[in-house]
């Protein structure tokens, strides 16, 4: 196979789907703004309207007790730690009601791998949230693998039970880098690459939509970042069940991997590459929660068509010392001053009708 020049690869990116070698060359050699322009072209191809969506939701973490012990995580605790917790039912209900009052549509519901919480416990919590009228976007693949192992059930049986209880969709967390060399080093006790993909495949086949994420900027190589994108693209070709892709850089601070967080241009390059490679995924989300308002907004010109959510509550990134908060009015301002029309969406990217009292003068979101 002959090696293409950068110019040829840029042309190839504008023609259609990139092969691995071309994608890697583009990622390593192309100028930031060139990547941005190729990404924007794909963005407008997938989403022709100059609309940027956002969601109003709350992250609820049902427990921080976790046996996984991932080396990049500042959130997890041992059961005996003084600040270990399992969220009680009344607190969960209060958080859900607050979310509804603030115009929220769904709960991003995740937690640690806690041996004390069985499937019935989870099912009853999901049922409660659903019955309150919230869409539950819950349980990343490692949590589902963990539940299946504890319950002695197959992945599809667990997901089916969760669906019956009211699970609406699955967040793409825990993907980190979908390359086993990397996973064995940073998250050896967590679902493997094939397990992660298998959970998503199964969920898609059972009719659930999911997102996919990528946590980059730790020990992985540039090639492994691209491998991650290709693994997602391949499964999406097969199932079509991913709604959105969300890349974000590892946030050091209180965690055991000690490298510095990737900077602004590294993030924008990765975001743009995600948009370019994942030609079969509809939406790319900007991560203001890790990048702050500035780069979170600039990302809208580097391939992102969604600004994530107001995240009325966020605990995991905050535990690494990163405290970005945003109000709905600020999200709208960022979108509009970037040259786009702001539109609230739900988890499945359907427009949400806003009531008059939820107008832009009202500020939601404080991260306590």
């Amino acid at each position: 196979m002959t090696v293409k020049s950068l110019k040829e690869v840029i042309a190839a990116a504008e023609e259609g789907r990139l092969v691995f070698q071309d994608a890697l060359l583009l990622y390593e050699k192309a100028d930031l703004l060139t990547l941005g322009q190729i990404a924007q072209r794909m963005r407008f191809q997938k989403n022709p309207e100059p609309v940027v969506t956002y969601a109003v939701d709350r992250n609820i973490n049902y427990t921080n007790i976790c046996v996984s012990g991932c080396s990049f995580c500042a959130f997890c605790r041992q059961k005996e730690d003084h600040d270990a917790y399992v969220l009680d039912r009344p607190t969960l209900e209060r958080k859900c009601r607050e979310t509804l009052e603030l115009g929220g549509t769904h709960i991003l519901y995740q937690g640690g791998m806690n041996l004390d919480l069985d499937l019935q416990w989870h099912e009853s919590r999901i049922r409660m949230m659903r019955d309150l009228g919230l869409h539950v976007h819950g349980f990343s693949p490692p949590e589902i693998v963990f539940m299946a192992e504890n319950a002695g059930l197959a992945i599809d049986e667990v997901i089916q039970k969760l669906i019956t209880a009211g699970l609406g969709s699955i967040p793409g967390g825990g993907a980190e880098i979908l390359v086993d060399r990397v996973r064995e080093k940073v998250s050896p006790k967590k679902a493997s690459t094939s397990q992660w993909l298998e959970v998503m495949r199964t969920a898609h086949n059972l009719g659930l939509k999911t997102t996919a994420t990528m946590m980059f900027g730790h020990i992985e190589t540039a090639g492994e970042r691209i491998q991650h994108l290709f693994a997602i693209r391949k499964l999406q070709d097969e199932t079509g069940g991913f709604t959105a892709f969300i890349p974000w850089p590892y946030q050091p601070g209180g965690t055991t991997l000690t490298t510095r967080a990737a900077g602004g241009t590294t993030y924008l390059r990765m975001l743009a590459m995600s948009r370019v490679v994942l030609d079969n995924i509809e939406h790319i989300q900007s991560s203001w929660v890790t990048q702050g308002h500035h780069i979170g907004q600039v990302a809208l010109h580097f391939g992102a068509d969604d600004l994530g959510s107001t995240m009325i509550e966020e605990n995991v990134v905050a535990s690494a010392g990163v405290h970005n908060t945003i109000s709905r009015s600020e999200i709208i301002r960022l979108i509009e001053t970037a040259g786009f029309v702001a539109l609230q969406r739900d988890t499945l990217y359907r427009p949400v009708e806003r009531k008059a009292e939820d107008g832009r003068r009202r500020s939601v979101g404080s991260n306590g």
């Binding site: 072209r41 191809q45 241009t265 030609d279 040259g339």
Partner: protein, 372 residues
Amino acid sequence: MKIPERRLDPDLREIEKKLLEGERLGMEDGLACLATSDLTGLGQLALGVKRARYGNKAFFISNHHLNYTNICENRCRFCAFHRASDSDDGYTMTPEEAAKQIAESPVADLREVHLVGGCHPDLDFPYYPALLKALSHARPGLEIKAFTAVEIAHMASIATISSMECLKRLKESGLSAMPGGGAEVFSERVREALFPRKIDADTWLRIHGEAHSLGIGTNATLLFGHMETQPEQVEHLLRLRVQQDASGGFRAFIPLPFHPENTPLNHMPGPTAVDILKTIATSRLILDNFAHIKAYWVMLGPRLTQTALHFGADDLEGTIVKERIAHQAGAKTAAGLTRDRLIELVKETGFEPVQRDTFHQPLDASLDKVNK
């Protein structure tokens, strides 16, 4: 699969043509840049101009910001730094105290002191030459970049001398260069609303012209993202360009995004990153007679500063050590950055970090090693 036509803003194509033909950009072009929906397209034009001048280089300096007083009678409405002379947290450094801070500066290879303060009603003129002299001797090899045109006008009025005479005396006492602050926005409308006690645009520009005639290089700024309009922003750039054509002594232009916290304007949100990048790129394109465009990391934050290097900026300011003015107004950045961190930030973007002196001359690498 059919790829749609590239959404390049047609107005940017016109501007690109003018740039290629060496034609100067005007008001309409500036407005088109600020209004474009093609952020990366605008960035590419500005980056092209930057690369033609400096290739892959990005400059920074080992410097220390020092604010000799926060007492100021101007009380500008966008400012969170100033205090009244009877305020509990007002302060004024003696020349000895200021020199001590510089002598003890953690910046090992310190090259420059950036010295600005307020229009203090009770300091006599001799304070200022004494301050310059004390700082010049605080460490060997220091350049003193000091006093905005606003402070120069204030000192001259206290001493009842002309601004030209004032500049001459300060130069004799060790003034090497002047910062670009106090320009705000060259608009009488905005001045009346936000900074009525401060010198007007004509005076600011005249004092810089006088400094240039004495061989004192200066910078220029624009405080943007409050109540000014886009035509007022572009007008500001055009007036600077006219002054530079006449006097030629501006080195760097520094667009300053307004920070509202702790100011009477705290109901305003401040400019967003897209506004900031557009302003930086537009400045690079309009100010064809300015050597440098600075991405002031204190006000942009490290991530946006890195990005700004792709939008026409070629300089990151410096180590700074203890920034006070933007931080009083809510800047969330560190008060200073180490030289190593600045180098790391630049390297991550793919640009080549180059340490410079006050006069924007690259430092000799071997000399630098010895100093380190």
